[in-house]
C-alpha cells in the first residue's frame, strides 16, 4: 500500500503545485467550503462537502468561444486559445468523479467540443473516499458509492481512523501524480476506514420506469410548487451542462461567450415570437428530473445524476431532487398495489 500521512495533505498539494499542476481543492472560502485553486498554507477540508462541483474547472461558468476585432462595418476573427492548464482536482468526491462520464459523453457524443476536451485531458482527478455522509447524500441511489472509483485517476482512502490516506492510482495520470508526490508516499500497511453509510432513498430504475409513463401527472405540480426558478441547483450540479451563448461588444471588439444556463429558468426555451414550450415552473422542474432520470438514460445509457446532494443543500426553497425521486418511487409503488 502506498500511504500518505493525512496531516501531509497540504504537502501533497504543494508537491503537485511544484510539479506544475494547478491544484484545485476544497478550502474554506468566505464562510463556506469551496473547490478553488489551492494556495500554499491553506488547509484542505476533508470533513465537509464543497458547495460547488468539479464541473467548474471543466466547463467554466463563462468562457470566450469566439473573439472579433471590429473596424467600422468590418470585423475580423481573432484566435481564441483554449485555457487548459495542467490541473489536479485534489480531494474531490467519488460523486464528482462519477459525473465525468456524463460530461464526457455530452461533449463528445457527436461533435467534439475542444474547449471541454482540452481541459479534461489536462485534468487529473484524485478523489477522497467518503467516510461520512450528510442527510443530502444519495450516491447509493444513483448508481454510486462512497468508496467508488469510477472516473478517478487516483483515490485517497482514509485509513487508521483518518490519520492516513491510502493512495490507489489508475492509469498514466494517476502514476504521474504518484511520481509528483515522491517521498511523501511510503509503502506500508494500514486499516482502511469503513466507507460512509449512505442509505438508499429511492429505486432509480423504478423512477426511470415511472417517468417514461408520466410526463403528464398531478405529481409535477405538487413537487414543484416551492421552486423559485433560481437555478442554484443546476449551477451546483456536477452533471448539469446546459449553456447559453451570448455576445458582448463595443465598436472595437466583440466576444462571444458560452455561459452556464439551465432548464429551470423561464427564458431557457422561450421563442423570440413569444411561444414558450415550458410555460410554467412545474414543466421546467419536470424537465430537470426527466433529463437526469429518463432522457439521459434513454439516450446515453446512464443517469445524469450522481447523488452528490448539492442541489438539496443549496436550494433556498428546501427542495431536493432526491425528495422528488423518493416521491416518484412511492407513487410508482402505490400504483402497483
Amino acid at each position: 500500500m502506498r500511504l500518505l500521512e493525512a496531516k501531509k495533505l497540504g504537502d501533497l498539494a504543494a508537491a503537485l503545485q511544484a510539479a506544475g499542476y494547478r491544484v484545485i481543492a476544497p478550502v474554506e472560502d468566505g464562510g463556506v467550503v469551496r473547490l478553488r485553486e489551492w494556495q500554499p498554507g491553506e488547509r484542505i477540508v476533508t470533513d465537509a462537502f464543497a458547495v460547488n462541483s468539479a464541473k467548474d474547472f471543466l466547463l467554466p461558468r463563462s468562457e470566450a468561444i469566439a473573439r472579433y476585432r471590429i473596424e467600422g462595418n468590418d470585423f475580423e476573427a481573432q484566435d481564441v486559445p483554449v485555457e487548459a492548464p495542467k490541473t489536479a482536482l485534489l480531494c474531490v468526491r467519488p460523486c464528482d468523479a462519477a459525473s465525468l462520464a456524463a460530461m464526457d459523453t455530452v461533449f463528445n457524443w457527436d461533435y467534439a467540443d475542444e474547449f471541454y476536451n482540452a481541459r479534461r485531458a489536462a485534468t487529473t482527478v484524485i478523489t477522497l473516499g467518503c467516510t461520512t455522509a450528510d442527510e443530502h447524500c444519495f450516491c447509493t441511489s444513483a448508481g454510486g458509492a462512497p468508496d467508488a472509483t469510477a472516473g478517478a485517476d487516483a483515490v485517497l482512502r482514509p485509513a487508521d481512523g483518518g490519520t492516513r490516506l491510502v493512495l490507489e492510482t489508475f492509469g498514466e495520470k494517476g502514476e504521474a501524480l504518484a511520481a509528483a508526490a515522491g517521498a511523501l508516499l511510503a509503502e506500508g500497511d494500514a486499516q482502511i476506514d469503513p466507507p460512509a453509510e449512505v442509505p438508499a432513498r429511492f429505486d432509480a430504475a423504478a423512477v426511470t420506469a415511472w417517468l417514461r409513463e408520466n410526463f403528464e401527472s398531478p405529481l409535477w405540480q405538487q413537487v414543484s410548487l416551492a421552486c423559485l426558478g433560481c437555478g442554484a441547483c443546476a449551477y451546483a450540479c456536477p452533471t448539469c451542462h446546459c449553456f447559453d451563448i451570448q455576445d458582448e461588444g463595443n465598436r472595437k471588439e466583440a466576444v462571444r461567450y458560452r455561459n452556464w444556463d439551465t432548464c429551470g429558468l423561464t427564458l431557457f426555451t422561450a421563442h423570440a415570437g413569444g411561444h414558450n414550450p415550458r410555460a410554467d415552473q412545474s414543466a421546467r422542474w419536470r424537465q430537470r428530473v426527466m433529463h437526469k432520470f429518463a432522457y439521459f438514460p434513454e439516450r446515453f445509457g446512464m443517469l445524469a445524476c450522481t447523488g452528490c446532494g448539492r442541489c438539496g443543500r443549496l436550494c433556498p426553497a428546501g427542495m431536493a431532487i432526491s425528495e422528488t425521486c423518493a416521491a416518484i418511487d412511492r407513487e410508482a409503488k402505490a400504483a402497483k398495489r
Binding site: 469566439a66 403528464e216 432548464c263
Partner: protein, 281 residues
C-alpha cells in the same frame, strides 16, 4: 472532428429583399470558396444554420434555398429581437457569420415518383420553400406538386414574386389564402384559414407525402385535415422550431424528450412526433 466547434465562417450579403413587413431575405455568398464546397458537400434540404453578427449574437434559421443552387444560400427571417435586427440592418456587400449546415433533412430522394403536398403558414414558408425549389429543380422525379400557403394578410405573404411564378406553372397547383379580414380589394386568392382551405383543396393522398410548416395553431388544425384526407402519419413531415444556441447537441436547449431537435431534427414525421412529450414542443 477537431478545431473550434463554435467558430463560424464569413458570408457576404449579395442581395437583400424585403418580403413582408419586418421580413427580409438575405442572399449570402461564402467569403471562402473552400467553405462553400464544404457546406454543399454536406447540405441536404431541411438542414439549418446559425446566422450571426459579432457583438449581437447568433440566431437559428433554416437554409431557405435548396442544395440544387450552389452559388449561394438564402435565409428569410422576421425582425423580432437584437440579433435579427442587427442582421437586417446589415447592407449588401457587408459580411455576417454562419455556422452549419446542422440537423437532419427531408428525405426527398425517397419521395421519387410520389406527389407532394406543401402546406405552410406565414413566416413558415421559408423552410418549405427550400424543399419546393429542390423538388421543382428536379421536377421530373416527382408526381403532382400542390402548395397551400396562407398568411394573416396579403402583406404578410412572403416570396410574393415566387408565388406569382409558381402560379403560372402548369406543373404546380398553388392555392394561396389570407385570413378573413386580411384581404385587399384586388386579392384574387382564397379567404380563409389554411386548414379549411386545405380541406377544400383536397389534394389526393394516394402515393403522396405532405410537408407542413406553420405556427403551432395552424399545425394543430391542419394535421386532422391531413388525416381525414388519408395521409398516413409516416407520410406527413414537419419541422420543430425549438430554440437553439449551439446547434450541435451540447447546450441542451432544444431537447424534446430524449431527442435533440438540432441533431435528430428539425425534420420529423408525424409518426415520430406522436410518442414525444407534446408539452415540450
Amino acid at each position: 472532428m477537431s478545431g473550434n466547434l463554435y467558430s463560424p465562417t464569413l458570408m457576404r450579403i449579395a442581395e437583400a429583399r424585403d418580403e413582408a413587413p419586418d421580413v427580409r431575405t438575405l442572399r449570402l455568398e461564402f467569403a471562402n470558396p473552400a467553405e462553400r464546397e464544404r457546406f454543399f458537400a454536406k447540405y441536404r434540404v431541411g438542414m439549418f444554420g446559425l446566422y450571426g453578427l459579432p457583438g449581437a449574437g447568433e440566431s437559428t434559421f433554416c437554409v431557405a434555398s435548396p442544395p440544387t443552387r450552389t452559388e449561394y444560400i438564402e435565409c428569410t427571417f422576421r425582425r423580432v429581437g437584437r440579433v435579427t435586427a442587427a442582421l437586417q440592418d446589415r447592407e449588401v456587400g457587408q459580411t455576417i457569420t454562419f455556422r452549419g449546415p446542422y440537423g437532419n433533412a427531408f428525405p426527398i430522394d425517397a419521395w421519387k415518383g410520389r406527389s407532394i403536398v406543401f402546406v405552410a403558414g406565414g413566416i413558415a414558408l421559408p423552410p418549405v420553400r427550400s424543399v419546393i425549389w429542390n423538388v421543382l429543380d428536379r421536377r421530373d422525379e416527382f408526381g403532382r406538386v400542390t402548395i397551400v400557403y396562407g398568411a394573416r394578410t396579403v402583406a404578410d405573404l412572403v416570396y410574393k414574386h415566387e408565388l406569382a411564378a409558381w402560379a403560372k406553372r402548369d406543373d404546380v397547383d398553388l392555392v394561396t389564402t389570407v385570413d378573413p379580414g386580411g384581404e385587399t380589394p384586388d386579392w384574387k386568392g382564397k379567404i380563409g384559414f389554411v386548414p379549411a382551405v386545405l380541406e377544400e383543396t383536397a389534394p389526393a393522398s394516394a402515393g403522396a407525402v405532405a410537408v407542413v410548416c406553420g405556427p403551432p395553431i395552424m399545425i394543430k388544425f391542419t394535421l386532422p385535415v391531413l388525416t381525414k384526407l388519408g395521409f398516413a402519419p409516416a407520410d406527413v413531415y414537419t419541422t420543430l422550431e425549438n430554440r437553439m444556441k449551439c446547434g450541435v447537441g451540447k447546450c441542451g436547449r432544444c431537447n424534446v424528450g430524449s431527442l435533440y431537435v438540432c441533431k435528430d431534427g428539425p425534420v420529423f414525421t408525424l409518426e415520430q412526433l406522436k410518442d414525444l412529450p407534446h408539452g415540450d414542443m
